[in-house]
Symmetry: C2
Subunit: 252 residues, 2 copies
DNA sequence: ACCTCAAATTCTTATATAAGACTTAGAACA
DNA sequence: TGTTCTAAGTCTTATATAAGAATTTGAGGT
């Protein structure tokens, strides 16, 4: 029984990759790992146990672990290096920011929060965030600067039930890279998003903050951010001045 | 030798998955299959040989074939069904059309070609299509209709060297779903694309064709379409009226 | 400071078994 | 005689495991 390299103690009971389950093993394992990631079991940048170790822990072969990890890598959740190990991806602040300069370079925007308010969710907010009628949302309105010039007028909506801490927060304390904040303060990582884009005209308010004329064409990006299991986390409507930048779709 | 179902003639010598090669087998196989796809060795919708057959042909195990096929499936080139087989994906006309109605439904646009011309390639065209200085392009300008209303003013640019047949074509004969035409007439399938989006103002010409006022905000989509091996095929600039439709990014 | 070697890791390939889908032979029935 | 249904058989892809190769890292020696 005393095989060298065996993991310490008894820890083989808690996983229960139920044999009765119809779903394939690698999928159950992926789900478990996903849950751990969501629970901050491993920190971003941290190395996961090696494939053989995980295989031992779950009582399956290395290849099965590998398949689960492969899928998470293709989702951008993990990063692997031969000879080194498998790490939790550290999301750069750029990960979900798709406005590029003409030369293709990315600039990190600065942000100035204008207002935080609590409102009844609108129809589109309820649809996007999958909220029941009567639920409330917290709205954060801010202006974002690229190369020190105001380029984006942005309205962020989140469920008050999930992010009540925002309601009492001072506008100055709203962090710039807010997805990181969701992950660190609330333990809710944003792992995917879906964008819808239109052309629009600058309103009076937008014109004032973006230093442009009323009616100037703006690129409107309506973005819904999702956490694990496709749970919608945030709706964001960004109205962007695209004189020096453009939105870049991920190559399909 | 006369095994039933055997492909005709001798075809087992040409593969040469050179043992000297440093690249993994599955990658070399993928490359070969990709080349066959590009050469129209199998037609869209057609079933490929089964995994064991391919394994036998290439002299590798089924798992290795599987890995090559898996990657091509994830790129959307192949479609697999357990128990049936692996087929070449038939691209619907919608595959690369990202303008959706508010309810999320897709409408196939009608097109009216306005003009076909041959010009020296502009700077952006040369960049997009990777053409040498002095090379010429064929430009196709057309209006596209959604639900019978003019919504898109579109300029298509392709290399004259590759698509000379366009130069002498009557405007009325330009097909609506032009990617299919590339694949069927020129044997050049479009397998991916990259979009860049901006907000813009309708010019006088656009205003006339789209039945709108000059200066109306339009969504400008600059799209470069690629064939196998990332060869750029076409640049397309679509200026879209987004009062009833919106651009939808593929979920990342 | 540089080189060598050993240990740990992921990567590649192969093989075996399971599960789903289509085909066809043949019985049952009209 | 023709039709319909059933079930077995055969083809397909899906899943799981194992073993050796390639790569990185770091310790130890020169």
């Amino acid at each position: 029984m005393s095989i060298k390299g065996q993991p310490p103690q008894s820890q083989a009971q808690t996983h229960s990759l139920s044999q009765m389950e119809k779903r394939p093993l690698y999928e159950q394992i992926k789900e478990t790992l996903l849950a751990r990631l969501a629970a901050d079991y491993w920190r971003p940048g941290e190395l996961l146990p090696s494939e053989p170790k995980l295989a031992g822990e779950f009582g399956v072969s290395q290849g099965t672990i590998r398949r689960a990890l492969d899928e998470m890598v293709s989702q951008g959740l993990l990063t692997r290096h031969q000879g080194r190990g498998t790490a939790v991806t550290e999301h750069t602040p750029f990960r979900f920011f798709d406005l590029l300069r003409a030369d293709g370079a990315r600039e990190l925007p600065e942000s100035k929060t204008l207002r935080i308010s609590v409102n009844a969710a609108s129809r589109t907010e309820r649809d996007a965030l999958e909220l029941a009628t009567g639920k409330k949302v917290i709205r954060i309105i801010r202006v974002r600067y690229l190369n020190l010039e105001p380029k984006i007028y942005e309205t962020i909506s989140v469920s008050r039930d999930l992010f009540s801490a925002f309601a009492t927060m001072d506008a100055r304390d709203v962090p710039n890279t807010i997805y990181n904040y969701y992950e660190q303060k609330f333990g809710v990582p944003v792992v995917s998003k879906r964008d819808r884009l239109r052309a629009a005209s600058a309103t009076q308010v937008e014109a004032r903050y973006l230093h442009i004329d009323v009616g100037t064409p703006l690129l409107e990006i309506e973005c819904v951010a999702y956490s694990h299991r496709n749970q919608p986390i945030e709706q964001r409507i960004s109205r962007c001045l695209t004189d020096e930048h453009h939105y870049c779709s991920s190559p399909s």
